[in-house]
């Protein structure tokens, strides 16, 4: 499994939110590129960057920071947040992102998703965020009632290869990932690649994810945010735990 250290940018700083709540923010680094360099020098193989201002406003707000991060680290980065039209996706790729993470727009706007898959193929990751197994949209403020696994299957039939699955209620809590839910999605969509997001607090959580990936080899990665900022473990320790 690949570790994806997470860098969420808000107001130019690297922050973490608790359960996606913009009012429960912790600022960790005034300069997100500093966090990026730190994870990069510790051996990160990929970084997950989210433009939280962009996610809220519906268009990229931190392109300059994204470009700085992309050039600062010796590894590829994927970027999400506010990517709702082809121009926004192009800008983020031009800023140096290897992959783009599309959320709300992929579910709401099938034509946009089809165009992005046509133009960028495997560089497109679709983020499916959920609460109690149901998909949530629009910065997680809107519930849909649609089942997560059904949504992943439906999108994979439309050509999406890789999904970022976030369990909102554990995100930013470090209380442990939603292992049962990940197992359910992994089993339901065996040909889709799944990146697990939310809840990692210590190395045993990563070992549990690695065990899960033994049973479901399509669970290919894990996003880790707060636990790295709070130095619960290092990137290299996390890499070792995920290799099982």
């Amino acid at each position: 499994m690949i570790l994806y250290p997470a860098i969420d940018i808000r107001g130019g700083c690297a922050v973490r939110l608790t359960q996606g709540d913009y009012d429960r923010e912790t600022v960790y680094d005034a300069d997100p590129a500093e966090a990026a360099r730190r994870w990069g020098s510790e051996g990160a193989q990929f970084l997950h960057v989210v433009d939280l201002d962009g996610a809220k406003d519906g268009e990229p707000r931190n392109l300059r920071q994204i470009e700085r991060i992309a050039t600062a680290v010796p590894c590829p980065i994927q970027v999400g947040g506010g990517l709702r039209n082809s121009r926004a996706v192009r800008e983020v790729l031009d800023a140096g992102a290897e992959r783009v993470v599309i959320g709300t727009a992929a579910l709401r706007d099938p034509e946009f998703l089809a165009a992005m898959l046509e133009a960028h193929g495997d560089r497109v990751v679709v983020s499916v965020d959920a609460r109690d197994g149901k998909v949530a949209l629009q910065g997680w403020t809107e519930a849909t009632g649609r089942d997560v696994a059904d949504t992943v299957i439906e999108l994979s039939e439309r050509g999406v290869v890789r999904f970022l699955c976030t369990e909102i209620d554990v995100d930013g809590t470090m209380d442990g990932p939603a292992l049962d839910e990940l197992a359910r999605i992994g089993a339901a969509a065996p040909s889709s690649q799944i990146i697990a997001s939310g809840g990692v607090g210590d190395l045993s959580d990563l070992q549990h994810l690695a065990d899960l990936a033994q049973a479901h080899n399509n669970i290919e990665g894990a996003i880790v945010g707060r636990a790295l900022y709070e130095q619960r473990f290092t990137v290299s320790e996390a890499n070792a735990a995920l290799r099982g």
Partner: protein
Amino acid sequence: MSEQSAANSAAPGRGSRGGGARICILDYGVGNVRSVEKALEHIGAVATITRDPAEVRAADGVILPGVGAFPRAMERVRELGLDELIVERRDAGVPILGICLGLQLLFDSTTELGGAAGLGLLPGGVEELEADGLKVPHIGWSPVRWEKESALTDGIASETPFYLVHSFAPHPDAEDLLGTAAYGARFACAAQCDNVFGVQFHPEKSSAAGLRLLANFAGVCARTPTAA
């Protein structure tokens, strides 16, 4: 391994192998090359993105980067006269490293988009990945197996993963084959003939192993005596 970073240490060497080596990254308007520049600075080399012949002639090493389609990139290289400059530097003994499409351009030819001739510094052609039914382009981390010893790969274990983004791969002569990886079928992803090196993967995005490879290249550059 001898350290010659003191020879021209305008920049702090950070104790790296190639500390102080002056390396030109050829700028022909294809792709974002600043991550290569940053990686070289990180390992203590003095990196310049340029197409100015005087600057290139003053460098200890030359990197040919590139992304996109081979024929268009080669056209651009020729328009700017970089083809003759690269051959001149090769003949002067200067180490040359092609990265990704830059590696492909070092070969004789490609079959991409109806075909085009390359620089011919490495014998062989470039063809679409066989991939054995898998999706092309191949994007991701793949373990790379070293097929011969080289100063470029010194200290990097065989089967260390590197990051690749490509649809085509070279077919070097057996004696130039430096590294292979698997994607459906095995393909060549690194080659070397004397002072000409090429890697299909992106060392600048391949974490510690990629930085080590660039430091090794900078070390070769710092150690190589060159004709004027």
